[in-house]
Subunit: 350 residues, 2 copies
């Protein structure tokens, strides 16, 4: 297979912005990148946004803080392995952790649809509280709005978070270097397929549970052990392939992955095969990609594997000089360009 | 008129929580208070939430920060004097200012409905950018989600904000004291009636414009002048009456208002009268209530009046010992209890 020419990724993207918002604009793929690059970033231009990381790094007095936020619109609200409440806590905790921060405080905004069962709200709130306790974060401020029936979808949650950055490392895509190893802390694609199964009422051979989990402890252990972390990123919407495309573009380097080294649960792999999904583009909610010097990869993998959330950690690729793109090496010696999708295989996955 | 017995406000509220979420749960009235007290505060119990202010006060290293958030679901998106974009910036800036903080950084979450015109999004984003510039805040991190047509309503915005508290005063409802004067920086009810007019296609005698505006400069001037501010609060959802009820309950003190001293634009007053709204319960987006010692009231009013956003500032009431309730003294010597409404006169006003 011939690789497409590199200008496709270097030049302004050739898509024209459609006149109306499409579902695909929320998918973490190319349309979303266009929306950010054409509309949002130019309007709000500042160096914090230009860093294009999972959160902003703010220096306030003698402290360095991380500040991040996410809205959660996952449908359905409950699925095997998690729910919108735990996701809304873990998701923002993870974004802070990806900045190398210790998560401390969260804000919570609820947008409720008229008619939502109070019992559902209580279940979600209880799940948020339990998740916050697990992460040692406090939900310190919040807001509740209600919209008319038919103007929402049960329940949307927005969380913003503040974390404390104690490492001197500046973790982010700009720090990625040629020769870096790319690690992941376990199997890909479970969250997306668990939500898909719940949404469509599908039963697969093995049970598939979302990997929804907080990653701050893993990050803390890597930092405490002194690894020179260049970049951390949780491959949520758009999966591993989309997130690596973003990082390749920001670092202006080529990423090469070995398909055979990418951990995947057989049940998730077969569900993806049956339904025609590429697991490299399926969302994760408890995984992170770690960029660090190749010389430290083995020790970092040992560190990850000593934690329950990193037992199946693996090195999946390396960073090379070359056009900013992501190349997948298949077992039979062929290669495939992992491009940004125009949208998302599974809307409203998070 | 006989005042209702005080136990109604002191005891657990007699309403039973309905089985489903009602529009009124979002209204800033009694149902919303019940939802917060019964469901949200117990689940997330911590001293920051217990302070029940517009934002949390966080000590981090040698800094004291304010952290606040709000979702914006106002309908329609554009109205005389503002739009959802400027509201989403000014609203969170104001919540930070009410903590006595200098607003610094905002996060932005957009929940877009499939089919939203891109031109509308661009107009809202431009308005946010302009509002942020006016306030000297940076939008440093964000998130965009898209939901299917019919599962949202064009555009919802969530902003969270971080501000720096440099005053040694701990501003909040717990600091309100017997003998405090209650000031307001101008006329009430304009925002609610402007949105109402836009929503229903009404034209009133005079043009009614929302008062949507950032209050951080006014707060900064009061702090710089050295006034002993006990509490600041912007009377948004539920208006002046609802917000004063909350403060009376938190401070465990009685609030007395003089109707004749409450500034109101004649066009707003007559629109309220025609439509049967009580302007004391109508939302404001550029007003604040200021609690400070009576001896400082005149000087503080002079300070407020020297700023364009405080030209019509007035003292509207005082804090007294007594049951935690809000009493309105009418010009003819009668009094009226301003209770919490069960819901909100105007849903989706902010």
């Amino acid at each position: 297979m011939t690789d497409p020419p590199a200008f496709e990724l270097n030049c302004p993207l050739p898509f024209e912005q459609p006149e109306r918002v499409l579902l695909a604009h929320g998918g973490g793929g190319r349309l979303m990148q266009n929306l950010l690059q054409d509309t949002l970033f130019p309007a709000f231009a500042n160096p914090f946004l230009a860093a294009a990381h999972d959160g902003a790094r703010l220096v306030l007095g003698n402290q360095v803080l991380a500040f991040s936020c996410d809205s959660y619109v996952v449908h359905p609200l409950f699925f095997a392995g998690g729910d919108i409440g735990s996701m809304a806590v873990f998701g923002t905790v993870n974004d802070l952790a990806m900045c190398g921060a210790k998560p401390l405080y969260l804000s919570v905004g609820l947008i409720l649809e008229e008619g939502l069962e109070m019992a559902v709200l209580q279940r979600v709130v209880a799940s948020m509280a339990e998740a916050a306790k697990r992460c040692g974060v406090l939900l310190v401020t919040g807001d509740t709005k209600v919209v008319e029936k038919g103007k929402g979808d049960g329940l949307f949650i927005h969380t913003a978070g503040i974390g404390l950055i104690e490492t001197a490392l500046e973790i982010g895509p700009q720090q990625v270097k040629v020769g870096d190893a790319i690690l992941i802390n376990g199997e890909i694609g479970a969250h997306g397929m668990a939500v898909m199964a719940e949404r469509e009422g599908l039963a697969f051979e093995g049970p598939i549970k979302s990997d929804c989990a907080p990653l701050h402890e893993l990050v803390s252990e890597l930092l405490t052990a002194g690894f020179e972390l260049h970049c951390l990123r949780d491959p949520t919407r758009g999966g591993v392939a989309s997130v690596l495309n973003e990082i390749a573009a920001q670092a202006e380097l080529q990423i090469e992955l070995k398909a055979a080294q990418i951990p995947i649960d057989p049940a998730v792999a077969s569900a993806c095969e049956i339904l025609g999904f590429d697991p490299l583009y399926v969302a994760n909610e408890g995984k992170m990609l770690i960029f660090l010097p190749q010389a430290q990869a083995e020790a970092a993998l040992a560190c990850l594997r000593s934690h329950p959330l990193g037992r199946n950690a693996a090195q999946i690729g390396v960073v090379q000089t070359g056009a900013p793109r992501v190349i997948l090496h298949n077992p039979y010696g062929t290669t495939r360009l992992l491009d940004l999708l125009s949208g998302e295989q599974l809307p409203r996955i998070c």
